[in-house]
């Protein structure tokens, strides 16, 4: 059964996205929230890593956190889904456990 991983810190500042990507299993879901949403955008230094992860895992980013930071949901890396709060709840409901990488 899959796990939902949430990451809330910018990968430019902390290593928790890297740690999460290094430990999450194929079939798991990773949701980027708060300051981690920058990692969902194309054109950043993390685009390659995110695109790789999207091949084996379900990647999502929280839309209201993108909007808060003026980041365009149309510019997220292919394979990353933009979800709202209801989508966050759905992800939690569809997975066995949640792991918050704080």
């Amino acid at each position: 059964m899959a796990t939902l991983h949430t990451v809330n810190k910018s990968p430019f500042e902390r290593s928790n996205l890297e740690a999460c990507l290094g430990h999450a299993q194929p079939g798991d879901a990773i949701l980027l929230i708060e300051d981690a949403v920058i990692a969902a955008l194309s054109g950043t230094a993390f685009e390659g890593k995110m695109a790789d992860a999207a091949r084996t895992m379900r990647l999502a980013v929280l839309g209201p956190d993108l909007a808060a930071r003026g980041l365009d949901p149309a510019k997220v890396v292919t394979g990353i889904t933009v979800v709202d709060y209801a989508g966050f709840v759905d992800l939690a409901a569809e997975t066995k456990a949640t792991n918050a990488w704080l």
């Binding site: 809330n8 810190k9 910018s10 430019f12 500042e13 708060e34 300051d35 920058i38 955008l41 194309s42 054109g43 950043t44 230094a45 685009e47 839309g63 209201p64 956190d65 909007a67 808060a68 930071r69 003026g70 980041l71 365009d72 510019k75």
Partner: protein, 126 residues
């Protein structure tokens, strides 16, 4: 504060390195900058690393229940704080360009930013 009271003007630099909204640092520094304007010092603002996101256009944080303080950066000019610097490498790493920013800035390389910082009397980083 002795120097300020005696009319000595020092070169201050506030260095912003954190993304807005996820933590309170950006807003706290902005308030400190506005207050510092009352002391007639030579104030410089630097945005580097995730700090460049503080002045990203189009921020609408109502959906996460946070006040949108990004328009306040545009008020800095009225406070005679017009020396704003952004690090080019930080923009590039995040897929951003100068056009994504909501205030006029001077874009500097990391090396240039380092030299500018070295010439300050007081540097405050958050």
């Amino acid at each position: 504060m002795d120097d300020m009271e005696s009319g000595v003007v020092k070169k201050f630099m506030f260095v912003n390195r954190k993304a807005p909204h996820g933590t309170v640092y950006a807003l706290e520094v902005l308030e400190m900058v506005l207050i510092s304007a009352a002391f007639d010092q030579d104030v410089h603002l630097a945005f580097l690393d995730d700090g460049v996101l503080q002045i990203k256009k189009g921020q609408t944080p109502a959906g996460i229940g946070v006040k949108n303080f990004s328009p306040t950066y545009r008020a800095l000019e009225g406070y005679d704080i017009e020396k704003l610097y952004v690090e080019a490498e930080s923009l590039a790493e995040r897929g951003l360009t100068e056009d994504d920013l909501l205030v006029p800035v001077e874009v500097l390389s990391r090396a240039e930013m380092g030299r500018l910082m070295a010439g300050m009397d007081v540097v405050l980083t958050a």
